[in-house]
């Protein structure tokens, strides 16, 4: 697995809500080698503070050597990142981590909640590109409210995969949790579920999958310093009693490898 440190040019900045942004970054080497579920570590400034890079899922790649990240301002680092200017250069390290294992021979259900939608577009696109037919597949997206979702839908819709949405306030799609719509779709034996979102959502998705005997791959988070297995900082308790390192063993796991509290 080869990784690159590239000075990426900011090609496009989209602001969806007060706090939700999408950046298009020109970093050809990373774009060419990334697979769905992998992430990048971005240096938000040139100075010594904030010191560490910030991890972001690869939202999608383009043949023009671009990648996108979709992120929310939650603290100092993302605040600075939200202020980048077009054509500015920022240092991007990637692609990092182990991504999703595609299942090209059976139905897949892709479940994204909140910012967890970020890696799911790349996954859905690759799934669509490589698979003979997506007729049995589903994309289920949840968010707090309509304006956190609507700008993302076009990119999913053009794949023609069946798409269902849920919002906490009912402003778009199902009024409630994405796990609720999941229970309304049929999950045939042999299908694979992919989930990324808040911990309780992923725990809920996993619970449903387990009860149906369906494998579930989740993409999880952790605090990270290096993103490449060097610092051992990103540990997460594993089912086997030890720790797993999200940056190299994940961020995508078979949900059964991890511990869930629901």
């Amino acid at each position: 697995m080869t990784q690159y440190q590239e000075n990426a040019t900011v090609a496009r900045i989209e602001q969806f809500t007060n706090n939700n942004f999408r950046l298009t970054l020109l970093c050809p080497q990373i774009a060419a080698s990334a697979t769905p579920g992998q992430f990048v570590m971005i240096r938000v400034g040139n100075g010594k503070d904030p010191l560490l890079r910030r991890p972001f899922s690869i939202h999608q790649t383009s043949s023009g050597g671009r990648i996108q990240i979709y992120f929310k301002v939650v603290g100092r680092g993302t605040e600075i990142l939200a202020q980048v200017k077009k054509d500015q250069e920022i240092s991007v390290l990637g692609p990092l981590g182990r991504g999703f294992q595609l299942n090209l021979s059976a139905p897949v259900i892709i479940v994204g909640g909140g910012l967890g939608i970020a890696p799911m577009l790349f996954l859905a696109k690759e799934n669509y590109r490589l698979k003979r037919s997506c007729a049995a597949d589903f994309v289920l997206l949840g968010a707090r409210e309509k304006n956190e979702l609507e700008h993302l839908l076009a990119d999913f819709k053009c794949l023609g995969i069946r798409l269902l949405t849920a919002t906490d306030d009912g402003s778009l799609g199902h009024h409630g949790l994405v796990t609720e719509i999941m229970q309304s779709v049929s999950l045939p034996v042999g299908s694979t579920v992919y989930a990324c979102g808040p911990e309780p959502m992923m725990a809920g998705v996993n619970k449903i999958c387990r009860s149906l005997g369906i494998p579930c791959q989740v993409s999880v988070e952790s605090v990270m310093a290096c993103g490449m297995g060097a610092c051992l900082g990103c540990s997460r308790p594993a089912r086997d009693g030890g720790y797993t390192h999200v940056c190299v063993n994940g961020p995508v796991y078979d949900a059964e490898e991890l511990l869930w509290s629901l």
Partner: protein, 323 residues
């Protein structure tokens, strides 16, 4: 141990010596911040490193601390990894072959819970092909047993040094804790006990709190502070220690650039280690190396050795600024 030191005749002479170990250049990677080197394979030219120092190795494997293990602070970070490692035996079988293939000096950072453990690790490393040096960590703040106690008491520090020296067949560098009242006392103690070199500093003990949850930011509550924030403390301690010992001193702490590294050398360091900077810029050590080379060229230095301890103390030029 012998290494083929690549020496381009057009390049300035960057060689330095750590005891009997000659390094092609003074830039090493600090323990715990560079994994087992392989992680950085595609991101920099590992063959150019003066030496690689691997993550701290203990006698038996350790699982490390529960998460969160790291948190960012102002110009720095705290870590409480808890010395997660595969243990010395698996290190030798699983990690050394790759490291040996790099054809650069590999220095193994070791940590024990007792004198006997330190000695035993050194014994197991004896004769292992590719091991060019041992760095004795007497200073990790994140392990309850041993660790800190060894590093803050001169007698214990000396005893650990002597134990390792008994079995080691390669130069032994002792890595000091900065969390002490007088670093020179510890430095002299380990020098007398036979240390071939001293490296410093390990992390300062610190803590961070997550206000929204009113909880410590680290599960371990306290952790080790590293990064640019600690550079002034590190530089001061290197300066103090270099004046009282006659063995080589290796500077560590917040080094990000060639300028930083050169400042440590002026203060008395024979070589430097790049730590936290590897996380920010995976090719930091190579950048530092290139910067040192450029400096040596620009300043027309015959050898980089000529700047070691070269701080000018004669007469202070008042800061008249730049008008």
């Amino acid at each position: 141990m012998e290494f083929v030191i690549p020496r381009d005749e057009n390049l300035p002479d960057l060689r330095v010596n750590i005891g009997s170990l000659e390094l092609a250049n003074p830039v090493m990677t600090a323990s715990g911040t560079f994994g087992y080197a392989r992680e950085f394979e595609g991101l920099m030219n590992l063959h150019r490193l003066g030496a690689v120092i691997v993550k701290g190795i203990s006698l038996y494997p350790r699982a490390g601390n529960p998460p969160p293990r790291i948190v960012e602070t102002a110009c720095g970070m705290l870590n409480a990894i808890g010395l997660q490692n595969v243990g010395v035996d698996r290190f030798i079988t699983e990690k050394m072959p790759y490291l040996q293939g790099l054809n650069i000096p590999v220095i193994v950072n070791i940590l024990g819970d007792s004198l006997a453990e330190y000695e035993e690790i050194a014994a197991r490393l004896a004769g292992v092909p590719g091991v060019a040096g041992i760095e004795v960590n007497i200073s990790c703040p994140n392990v309850k047993k041993g660790g800190v106690a060894f590093g803050t008491d001169p007698a214990m520090a000396a005893a650990v040094t002597a134990s390792v020296k008994k079995k080691a067949e390669v130069p032994v560098m002792v890595k000091l804790s900065p969390n002490v009242s007088d670093i020179t006392v510890i430095a002299r103690a380990v020098e007398e006990a036979g240390a071939d070199a001293i490296s410093l500093i390990n992390t300062l003990i610190g803590m961070a709190i997550h206000l929204p949850t009113r909880r410590p930011a680290l599960a371990n509550i306290i952790g080790g502070l590293s990064g640019p924030a600690i550079k002034p403390v590190a530089l001061r301690m290197v300066y103090q220690v270099a004046r009282v010992v006659s063995i080589p001193v290796v500077g560590i702490g917040g080094i990000e650039s060639a300028e930083d590294a050169l400042e440590f050398m002026l203060a008395g360091a024979t070589a430097v280690q790049i730590g936290t900077a590897n996380f920010v810029n995976p090719r930091a050590s190579e950048d530092v190396l290139e910067g040192i080379g450029a400096y040596a060229r620009a300043e027309k230095l015959d050898s980089i050795r000529s700047i070691i301890g070269g701080l000018r103390l004669d007469k202070h030029v008042p800061d008249m600024r730049n008008l």
